[in-house]
Every structure is written in structure tokens, then in C-alpha cells.
């Protein structure tokens, strides 16, 4: 019985990681950069929900506003901080991304203080199946994550914009020759990634409703690991890696002897997989073009 509860909880947490990982992996695939500020978008989404629910705005509306705000923020960050560095060395871009991350965290501390705040109104209660107690938010998270992933796959495979994303990720120059506006595609990618981050932040708050300035750091770094485990740049890989880490985390947490080492176990998985398969599960070997 415990096993089933853990499995559902793990899949649900994994879904959250997968959603965040999708943002990392899509941005990496298309803009060829690691957006280390991605985790902080989750935090901004969380604070946006806090602000609006504190004004007694309906939680669903607050979530929608958080998504909109994060999409705007993601696009602005890309335009202001990353776009001018197109073609610069990867190290410069990486440092900029880390800078953006600290900037967002510091801004959050300026506006909301460094303490922890509680978000109310996201608790959906729980229900029982036989002796099984399952929280509604777990199920909502799981179902939403599955829906989002299916939708994203269909979008990439069957829409013109989605195929343009694949084209840009493979060969920017050739994509331009098709008439694809590469900058626009990169912007859309950041928008999608940020929307997913805001949604993931919401689900994370449903699990534990406290928010603070580094709220996005740990899930961000775990989701990044998930993206790498699955093969960075690969959309199914991000999903696989996210779900794997989520399930491992919940099961490890349920055994009291190893629970304190859960994070260590997750990152150990990352290291082992990188040693055995450096490209991750579904990553491709990229041949360098001359």
C-alpha cells in the first residue's frame, strides 16, 4: 500500500521536475545555452501567486497571472541579457545566466524580505481509496504534467512553429535559409520554458506552501540534473530524467535510514550516469561542424 502511495507521489514530483527540466533542455537545444536563471523563474512564479492570493484573488486566476508574468519575465531576460551575447563564448553566457539568477533572488529579497512566507489557498485536501490516503494536489499535479507533456510533444511534432524549433536546434544557418526567424523561435522557446516553470512552481507550492528567495534553486538544480540524465537537448529525455529523479526522491525519503541522504543519492545517480553514458539516456552525440 505504501508502495502505491510512494509511486504516485514520486511520479507526481517527477512530473514537476520534468516540467522544469523541459525548460532547461529546450533552451539548451535551441539557443545552445544553459539558462541557470531558469530555477529562479519558478521562485518568481511562486511569489506572484503569493502576492495575488494575499489579495484574495482566486487561486486559479493567481496561477494564470503567475504564468503570464513569468512568460513576460523570461522573454525580457532573454532579450536584455542573453540576446546581446548571441555568438559570444559559452562561458560569457553562462556567467550572465548566473548573474541573472542572483539578480532575481536579490530582487525577491528586496521586495519580500529574506524570511519564509506561506502561500494559502493552494491546499486541495485529500481523499481515501480504501486505506490509501492520497492528496488531491498529487493527482492534479500528475494529470497536469502528463497533459502538458503530451501537448508539448504534439506541438513540437505537428505544428509549423514546433518543427521550426527542431530545425533551429539542428542547424541555425539552414533554418534561416528556410525563412525561419531564429530570434523569434528562441523567444518562443523561452516563453514556453517560463510558462512551464511557473506551472511547476505552482505544483511545488501545493506540496509545501512556503516560499523564499532561493525557493527555485533546489528544484532547479535537480531538474537540470534530470535534463542531463535524460540527455540535454532531448525533450523525451527531460521527461524520463525528471520522473526518474522524482520517483527516487520519494522512495528514498520513505526509508528513514537513507532519507537524510536523498539529495546525495539523486546527484550520485547523475554522476554515475554521466560516467557510464556521457550523453545521458536519450542524448545524441553531436558531431562538431567544421
Amino acid at each position: 500500500m505504501n508502495f502505491i502511495t510512494n509511486l504516485i507521489g514520486g511520479l507526481s514530483l517527477g512530473g514537476i521536475y520534468a516540467m522544469i527540466a523541459l525548460g532547461y533542455t529546450m533552451v539548451y537545444g535551441i539557443a545552445k545555452m544553459l539558462n541557470f536563471a531558469h530555477g529562479d523563474i519558478i521562485m518568481v512564479g511562486g511569489y506572484t501567486i503569493l502576492v495575488f492570493t494575499a489579495q484574495s484573488v482566486h487561486p486559479l486566476i493567481a496561477i494564470a497571472l503567475a504564468i503570464i508574468f513569468c512568460v513576460g519575465l523570461g522573454v525580457v531576460v532573454e532579450r536584455v541579457a542573453y540576446k546581446p551575447l548571441r555568438g559570444a563564448s559559452p562561458l560569457a553566457v553562462l556567467i550572465t545566466a548566473i548573474g541573472v539568477s542572483y539578480l532575481l533572488q536579490s530582487l525577491a529579497q528586496m521586495f519580500f524580505g529574506s524570511g519564509t512566507k506561506m502561500v494559502t489557498g493552494l491546499d486541495l485536501g485529500s481523499f481515501n481509496i480504501g486505506s490509501l490516503k492520497i492528496s488531491v494536489s498529487t493527482i492534479v499535479t500528475l494529470v497536469s504534467c502528463i497533459a502538458v507533456m503530451v501537448a508539448l510533444n504534439l506541438f513540437v511534432k505537428y505544428t509549423k512553429t514546433g518543427r521550426a524549433m527542431i530545425a533551429v536546434s539542428e542547424d541555425k544557418g539552414a533554418a534561416q535559409l528556410m525563412g525561419i526567424n531564429v530570434n523569434l523561435i528562441i523567444m518562443i522557446t523561452f516563453a514556453i520554458g517560463s510558462a512551464l516553470a511557473a506551472l511547476a512552481g505552482t505544483f511545488y507550492l501545493m506540496r509545501s506552501p512556503s516560499i523564499y528567495s532561493t525557493f527555485g534553486s533546489l528544484p532547479g538544480i535537480k531538474a537540470f540534473s534530470a535534463a542531463v540524465i535524460g540527455g540535454i537537448g532531448s525533450i523525451p529525455g527531460a521527461m524520463l530524467g525528471g520522473i526518474l529523479l522524482g520517483v527516487v526522491e520519494v522512495f528514498a525519503n520513505s526509508v528513514s535510514a537513507i532519507a537524510p541522504y536523498t539529495d546525495a543519492i539523486e546527484f550520485a545517480i547523475l554522476i554515475i550516469i554521466l560516467l557510464v553514458k556521457p550523453t545521458g539516456f536519450l542524448g545524441k552525440k553531436r558531431r562538431e561542424k567544421v
Binding site: 535559409l177 525563412g179 525561419i180
Partner: protein, 236 residues
């Protein structure tokens, strides 16, 4: 009338000047070839015309409109496109999806499917492999796909960068046949080739590029007959 005019084009890689002020033009309805050895600057010229590499000085004029350093995706919409060196097909997409990417700027679905049928008629091999992932095609098939993909944008001016590179003699002949076919259908062609013999034979005019400069120009026949060209490029 000149469809494409290049005036005193200069391109640098860092401090090294790759293109040293070249001028040439392509008239409507012509096949024009740029020939030259490896490193002469042929591909650089093509890429800077297309806005893929920044030109430091000079002018590119397409159909009377200056397009110097305009982003490639905008140039494509004006009716000019390029089959890049090394084909650069999208290997994760299917043959069909690659061809659709070629029609990215087009909105009329009925027209797109008509154009698709036309391409499949010219390249029956692509129809056979329609749903195959493009990365699994042979080199020759990939070249066909790259050419078909470019034609899906229905360009007035098609530039081809080394289309015969790495192909068997039989396939090279086929590639030149197809270029002639596109030309007969009304497409103006700018060709960059190392295979001087074959390209000069189908060209109205040609330019010889050496170390980033145009050193010789003339009709295809004149250059084929030129002693200098014979020595340098035709192996005799």
C-alpha cells in the same frame, strides 16, 4: 536587367580579409558560376550575400533593393534562397517535413501541396523515402532533398554552393541536369563550383575567384576555352 548585384563586397574573419572588394552581377534568366579553388572565398561570398556572414563593406542589391547584411530569413521572403554547402538538411526530420520547412514562408496549403507534387515528380526517390528520417538518406539523396527543399520556397534566384561535392560521377550529371531543369522553368541560377568543366558548360557567364578577388570573367564558353582556366581548373 540585373537581378542580383554585388558591388565592392568586403568580408573579414577577424583581421583577415577573406573577400577583397568583389563586384559581379547575375541577370534575370541567367546561369552564372563562380569558380575557384578551395579557400578562394566562394562560400564566404555566398553566405554574405545571403546575410549569414556580416559584410564589412560593399553593397548587395537584389531586384533593385539593397539587402546588404539583411538577415537571411528576410532575404528568403524576397525570393532568393540558397542550397548550402554540405546540404545541411534537417536530419531528425522526415523527408516530407524537410520539404515542408522549405515552404516555411508560404501560407497557401493547396499551393504547397501542388509544389510538393512537383518536387516529387522531379525527385521520385524523395517520394519513395517521404516518411524516412532524412539523416538516413545517402549523400546523393540528401543533395536532392536539399535542392528540393530550396525549390519549395519557389525562388526567383537560386544559389547553389558546391552541389556536386562528394557525389559519384553519375549523380553529378544528375545534379547538373536538375539545375538545368530549374533554369528552364524560369529560375535564375548562381552556382558556386569546383567542378569547373561541368559548371562552365551550362553557364551563360562565369567569374573566377582567387584569394578573395575576381581575376577573370567571361561567358562560359570563353572561360572553357581559356588557357589559364584549362591549366588551373580543368586539369590540362
Amino acid at each position: 536587367m540585373a537581378l542580383l548585384e554585388v558591388k565592392n563586397l568586403e568580408v573579414y574573419y577577424g583581421v583577415i580579409q577573406a573577400i577583397k572588394g568583389i563586384s559581379f552581377e547575375v541577370n534575370k534568366g541567367e546561369i552564372v558560376t563562380l569558380i575557384g579553388a578551395n579557400g578562394a572565398g566562394k562560400t564566404t561570398t555566398m553566405q554574405s550575400i545571403m546575410g549569414l556572414i556580416h559584410a564589412r563593406a560593399g553593397e548587395v542589391i537584389y531586384d533593385g533593393q539593397p539587402i546588404t547584411n539583411m538577415p537571411a530569413h528576410k532575404i528568403v521572403r524576397l525570393g532568393m534562397t540558397q542550397v548550402p554547402e554540405g546540404r545541411r538538411i534537417f536530419s531528425e526530420l522526415t523527408v516530407y517535413e524537410n520539404l515542408l520547412m522549405g515552404a516555411y514562408t508560404k501560407k497557401d496549403k493547396a499551393q504547397i501541396s501542388e509544389d510538393l507534387d512537383e518536387i516529387y515528380k522531379i525527385f521520385p526517390r524523395l517520394l519513395e523515402r517521404k516518411n524516412q528520417v532524412a539523416g538516413t538518406l545517402s549523400g546523393g539523396e540528401q543533395q536532392m532533398l536539399a535542392m528540393g527543399r530550396a525549390m519549395m520556397s519557389k525562388p526567383d534566384l537560386l544559389m547553389l554552393d558546391e552541389p556536386s561535392m562528394g557525389l559519384s560521377p553519375l549523380l553529378v550529371d544528375q545534379v547538373f541536369e536538375i539545375i538545368k531543369h530549374f533554369h528552364e522553368k524560369g529560375t535564375t541560377i548562381l552556382l558556386v563550383e569546383q567542378n569547373a568543366n561541368k559548371s562552365l558548360a551550362i553557364s551563360d557567364r562565369a567569374y573566377v575567384l582567387e584569394n578573395g578577388k575576381i581575376v577573370l570573367s567571361g561567358t562560359g564558353e570563353e572561360l572553357l576555352a581559356s588557357e589559364d582556366i584549362k591549366k588551373a581548373y580543368l586539369g590540362g
